[in-house]
Amino acid sequence: MLAYLTRRLIQSALILLGVSFITFFLLYVLPADPVRQIAGRSATAETVANIRHQLGLDQPFVVQYARYLGGLVQGDMGRSYLQKTEVATLIAARLPATLLLMLGAIVAELVIGLSLGVIAAIRRGGALDQSLMITSFVAVSAPQFVVGLLLLYVFAVKLSWFPIGGYGSFSHLVLPALTLGIMGSGWYSRMMRSSMIDVLRSDYIRTARAKGLKRMRVLALHAMPNAILPIIAMIGIDIGIFMSGIVVVESVFGWPGIGQLAWQAIQRVDIPIIMGVTLVSACAIVLGNLLADMITPFIDPRIKLR
């Protein structure tokens, strides 16, 4: 286990290195010049060259990348070109909000998705199953911006159950987490239904029923863990999928996460921020996947980590 963990952590570091390299390279070849954004419209060619030199952007790619990595090793993610602030500071200020939002979304989608999936599996073929199927497709097909605004309009503006956006308390979290999680819940409910149907047919469920166990217990203890196995891998994946969703959700709900930061940075080629956000999100995804892989053997003793 420890050996496995060390090996995976080393692999993860390599993955992050790979991500940093590809991202840095893509940003390098990207036809957009950050210096022009910095220098402004009235700058002379001289000033531009000067700034380019100051930032080391006139150096060859390898040197730039090596310098960036060198800084990274010492925990220095560089300074934003346009905000002139430490990227680490900017990200640190916003990361907790994003993590909280993702956590909320994961909980929301799991709770909604898994329970709907189980219900559909039990009521397989019935009217409830059919309507749940349609529901999950609606969830998957609905653009997040519209969902967010609708939720906001109904529950915050009209019903005043929740604040109209903002950050701070649990009630602030509910709507954005729901918005972000709704799409995933559609996926989860379909996946869960499909694997639950398989599991419910198995001999050991018959055994459990033969013991006279309560229906809930058969479902929750005997069927769920088996049915959930193929789904665990998705939790790691979700973090990656969320990355594009948070841009929209955070802006609709005024949630102070890194989505906004990333979006502005991409629009204006603020390379240090793009790099920083990319690496942080890559980290989250890699760790999420690692976690998913590590959970699996706890649920399924037949799988061994090697």
Binding site: A32, V48, T85, L149, V157, E250, G254
Partner: protein
């Protein structure tokens, strides 16, 4: 000459302003976004200032100034007893320090170029000097600025945020983080800044202008979607939605008399235009460019953006001095445009590309343009890209044949006609990495512009403006641009906001002149 404060105004109150984008920095040497522009204006002061709600200059930290006869030496007499937020008195040394700072390449100020006329600027720019030769401290309350050429716009430059006076010790204390810990002499000071959430300015009780500001506190909440901001405004949670009325809600708001009464409409020093790259065939033919000018149905485009603009005839917006009132521009006439194309050798039109920034409503406007062009046989492919990529394409030779300027368009830094020329129509901008995306370079006009800007005598202002008017008329003859519309400003405010409407459409303080507005309850 100065502004008469509102007699009904009473001090006190907190207001909430929202923005979608985060505030990048409050460093006056760096901040160049439209949401931090007015905040910096309230936290810092420069030697010059504008009368609230107008484009008229008035003295700021300088109590008075003198201009030498050759127009090359400016002597500013500073107000006494003006204190920075840290309590120290502002002196002439600070003025010099601030100007040195903004022009030093290490500062990476996007506004450094504005100071090009100060003597010694070139030495600063290439790094051979650490201090501007032309700026001298005569005594603690007098500073003298010598120019290398006469510059009629210099007083406007002194009113720019980039010229704000900053205290050396604070800048050195925070280094590059000064932008997050701004200290100035302005009406408000920064009291709290939670990155990504909000920024709070509180009243500077020691402000050197008597009676202002009225507000105790302004909270800027960032990361707010404009539609949501409007919902919050309607619920009374927000006082000013900084991004204005979102297009999707515009008709709804304006159609409701109750809500429309909270909207203040004003002009803006803005022009939306299409650049035609004169270095790329077939736009190297003036007939083609003129034909394009005639093909665009500006009324239709204005209708499409819910009439929030007026069709434009020339580069300058109507509220800019030097605007040529009786010029009708190229009339919409597709038939004639087609004929001209045929004359120029393109009877069947041609294929080209139209670059556009990818935020609403720009791709939509581009599609309207595309349709207009197709009616004269010009098939334009739309390339909707992120802002930075469009800017890059525009500044790269022979890359972008046409660019719709929306989202990146020129909003004047100061209300002077010269501001619409240099970087975007002059030869200086028609270089790799420049902002003259039509790559139009007319040496004669450049010379004329230089001549006009050397007329510093206030008595000759009309003559100067006439020269500028002529310059833009010549530009229109060569038609490197298609001026499409001048956007109007629609600022919305909560019921409790008080102050003259002009303060809500202040041409230099967008969206609101915070120093003079007040709350009524």
């Amino acid at each position: 000459q100065d502004y008469q404060p509102d007699p009904n105004a009473k001090p006190g109150g907190n207001i909430i302003v929202t923005y979608k984008d985060d505030v990048a920095t409050l460093d006056p040497a760096i901040g160049y976004d439209w949401q931090n522009w007015s905040m910096i204006k309230s936290v810092f002061d420069g030697l010059m200032d504008y009368v609230p709600g107008t484009t008229e200059l008035r003295p700021g930290l300088a109590e008075s100034y003198e201009i030498s006869d050759d127009g090359k030496t400016f002597t500013f007499h500073l107000r006494k007893g003006v204190k920075f937020h840290n309590g120290r008195e502002m002196t002439a040394e600070d003025v010099k320090y601030s100007l040195d700072r903004v022009t030093t390449p290490a500062t990476q100020s996007p506004g450094a170029g504005f100071f090009g006329s100060i003597k010694g600027y070139d030495a600063m720019a290439d790094g051979s000097a650490t201090s501007l030769e032309g700026v001298t401290v005569v005594d603690p309350y007098t500073v003298q600025i010598e120019l290398s050429r006469p510059d009629a716009t210099f007083l406007h430059v002194m009113a720019l945020n980039f010229s704000s006076v900053v205290p050396k010790e604070e800048v050195e204390k925070y280094g590059t983080d000064f932008g997050k810990h701004p200290v100035g002499t302005g009406a408000f000071k920064l009291s709290d800044w939670t990155i990504g959430q909000q920024l709070v300015l509180t009243k500077n009780a020691d402000y050197w202008r008597d009676g202002v500001p009225y507000l105790d506190q302004i909270t800027f909440e960032v990361g707010q979607e404009p539609i949501v901001a409007l919902l919050r405004l309607q619920k009374g949670e927000v006082d000013v939605p900084g991004d204005g009325i979102p297009p999707a809600k515009f008709n709804e708001v304006m159609g409701n008399p109750d809500e429309a009464s909270h909207v203040v409409v004003g002009g803006q020093l803005h022009t939306g235009y299409i650049t035609l790259n004169v270095e790329m065939a077939p736009f190297d033919k003036v007939e083609v460019r003129q034909a394009i000018n005639m093909a665009i149905n500006k009324d239709r485009i204005v209708q499409m953006i819910n009439g929030r603009a007026t069709p434009a005839t020339q580069p300058l917006p109507p509220s800019m001095p030097g605007y040529t009132k009786d010029y009708a521009g190229y009339a919409f006439d597709p038939e004639k445009a087609k004929a001209m194309l045929a004359e120029a050798g393109y009877p069947d039109g041609f294929e080209t590309e139209l670059y556009v920034m990818n935020t609403d409503p720009n791709p939509r406007i581009a599609q309207a343009i595309q349709q207009d062009l197709s009616s004269i046989g010009v098939r334009a492919d739309i390339k909707a890209l992120a802002q930075a990529n469009v800017i890059e394409a525009g500044g790269t030779p022979k890359t972008a044949p046409m660019i719709w300027s929306g989202g990146m368009a020129w909003i004047a830094d100061f209300p002077d006609p010269s501001n619409f020329y240099g970087p975007i129509l002059g030869c200086a901008g028609a270089v790799e990495g420049g902002w003259n995306w039509s790559w139009y370079c007319n040496k004669d006009l450049d010379a004329m512009a230089a001549e006009a800007d050397s007329i510093v005598d206030p008595a000759k202002t009309d003559e100067r403006l006439k020269m500028w008017s002529d310059i833009y008329m010549k530009v229109m003859e060569d038609a490197p641009w298609v001026p499409v519309f001048n956007e109007n400003r629609y600022t919305m405010k909560s019921t409790r906001m008080g102050g003259a409407d002009a303060l809500y459409v202040d041409p230099v303080s967008i969206p609101v002149n915070y120093d003079y507005v007040y709350v009524t309850e």
